[in-house]
């Protein structure tokens, strides 16, 4: 599992951790049942605060990606990738609904919204 943190990024540290661990799980780099480093171990390795790490793990738990067992630590959950993908699609849908509603309140026609999305999509493509 690789985690690279950027101090220069606008994305908060816990968000960077969530995104990268999620990525590792979704592309099968770490597999169901596999243990994750303990919260304190990860905090030490990344030289970040324990609370930040804890928050990242809580987020991943909420998404159903990992399970935490008291006294044993955290593991990649057994949920199948299909389920995980569906979960994320639901999240995406929620965000898209927000965007649609916001554009409506700005009286922005659909074409313009789509053009915006296309522009952003292409802009971000380079960053991976």
């Amino acid at each position: 599992m690789h985690i690279l943190l950027s101090n220069a990024s606008d994305e908060p540290i816990y968000g960077q951790i969530v995104r990268q661990i999620r990525q590792s799980i979704l592309n099968g780099e770490i597999t169901p049942g596999q243990p994750l480093p303990s919260i304190r171990q990860l905090a030490k390795d990344l030289q970040i605060s324990v609370i930040t790490t804890k928050r990242a793990y809580e987020e991943l738990e909420k998404e159903g990606l990992i399970d935490s067992v008291v006294g044993k630590g955290s593991f990649v959950s057994g949920a199948n990738p299909q389920f995980i993908r569906e979960q994320r699609l639901r999240l995406l849908e929620g965000k898209l609904i927000d965007a649609v509603q916001e554009s409506r309140s700005l009286q922005m026609p659909l074409e313009e919204l789509l053009a915006h999305i296309r522009l952003l999509y292409e802009e971000l493509e380079g960053e991976g």
Binding site: N7, D10, P12, I13, Y14, R40, Q41, A43, K44, Q47, I48, S49, V50, I51, T52, R55
Partner: protein, 291 residues
């Protein structure tokens, strides 16, 4: 005692002729790192001295491990590892001679642990303390503080005047200690970069008053730095800010209510995540403006 707090400070005050620490209530949570920040003269050292039982409060109370200094001073001090902001050892002694004086004060002194740290810090037991550089003295101080199985490490400005390499090393040591969830750390600093990364809680003192003591996550959720045109600054808008810096090209302001700022400025301003330094700077500036 509050089950998660190793230090409980309530309504603490200390009056000096030219400075006053006013009514500070806060705690230090077990298993976490608390960073005490504030400008020079904000009261950080005063607070730490009170917390170490090295000076008596004018009002209020300090309890460490649930106990008061008046009744349990020796017990409390046994369990604290303390790193002062100046070198408080006998300069004419060697490192090892100092150890033989220091060690008997602690029931749980661990010679092997001390030897390990001395080795790791590349200090020679035979070196005269006088001959050590500032960074080396700091390391020696840390070796003493960490060699009697202390549960709470208290450090007053451990990085002041030290180079970035050593600051990174210190960061390593601190995050290593935090592997043990029974340990707690409190350190003060006026330089917030790199150390702010490992801190779980931030306690911020400004002019003798505690501005907040919150998890760092919460602090960064709440505060925002707004950059926009000066035309947007009317009396109502000003009220949202803790402090404002105006220049010929626009203004920068710190707000403690990110949501409100996002609502007010939607689309008309850049809203950024402040650094701890921004928070310190604008709070001090705001306080000046209200005097």
């Amino acid at each position: 005692m509050n089950e998660n707090a190793v230090v409980e400070i309530s309504r603490l005050s200390k009056k000096y002729k030219r400075f006053e620490l006013k009514d500070v209530t806060m705690d230090v949570k077990q298993g976490f790192i608390t960073g005490l920040i504030g400008a020079n003269g904000a009261g950080k050292s005063t607070l730490i001295k009170l917390l170490m039982g090295m000076s008596l409060p004018s009002g209020g109370e300090v309890r460490v491990f649930g106990q008061a200094y008046a009744s349990h001073e020796a017990e409390i001090k046994e369990r604290i590892g303390y790193v002062a902001d100046d070198c408080s050892y006998y300069e004419h002694l060697t490192v090892d001679a100092m150890r033989s004086i220091y060690a008997p004060f602690y029931k749980r002194w661990d010679d092997r642990q001390f030897a390990r740290y001395i080795d790791r810090f590349e200090l020679s037991p035979k070196a005269k303390i006088r001959s050590l550089s500032k960074g080396m003295k700091m390391k020696l101080s840390l070796a003493f503080a960490l060699s009697h199985r202390a549960e709470l490490l208290v450090m007053d400005e451990p990085t002041a005047g030290l180079d970035p390499v050593f600051r990174r090393e210190l960061l390593d040591i601190l995050s290593e200690l935090m592997l043990d969830e029974r340990k707690s750390i409190l350190f003060s600093t006026h330089i917030t970069t790199d150390l702010d990364r490992v801190a779980d809680y931030i306690a911020f003192l400004n002019r003798g008053e505690l501005v907040f003591n919150e998890s760092k996550e919460r602090v960064f959720e709440r505060y925002a730095l707004v950059k926009a045109d000066k035309e947007l600054l009317d009396a109502d808008v000003r009220r949202v800010f803790v402090g404002i810096r105006e220049t010929s090209t626009g203004f920068e302001g710190l707000t403690g209510d990110r949501r409100e700022a996002e609502r007010l400025f939607a689309g008309y301003a850049r809203i950024e995540r402040p650094t701890l330094e921004d928070i310190m700077f604008f709070t001090a500036k705001g306080a000046e403006a209200h005097v």
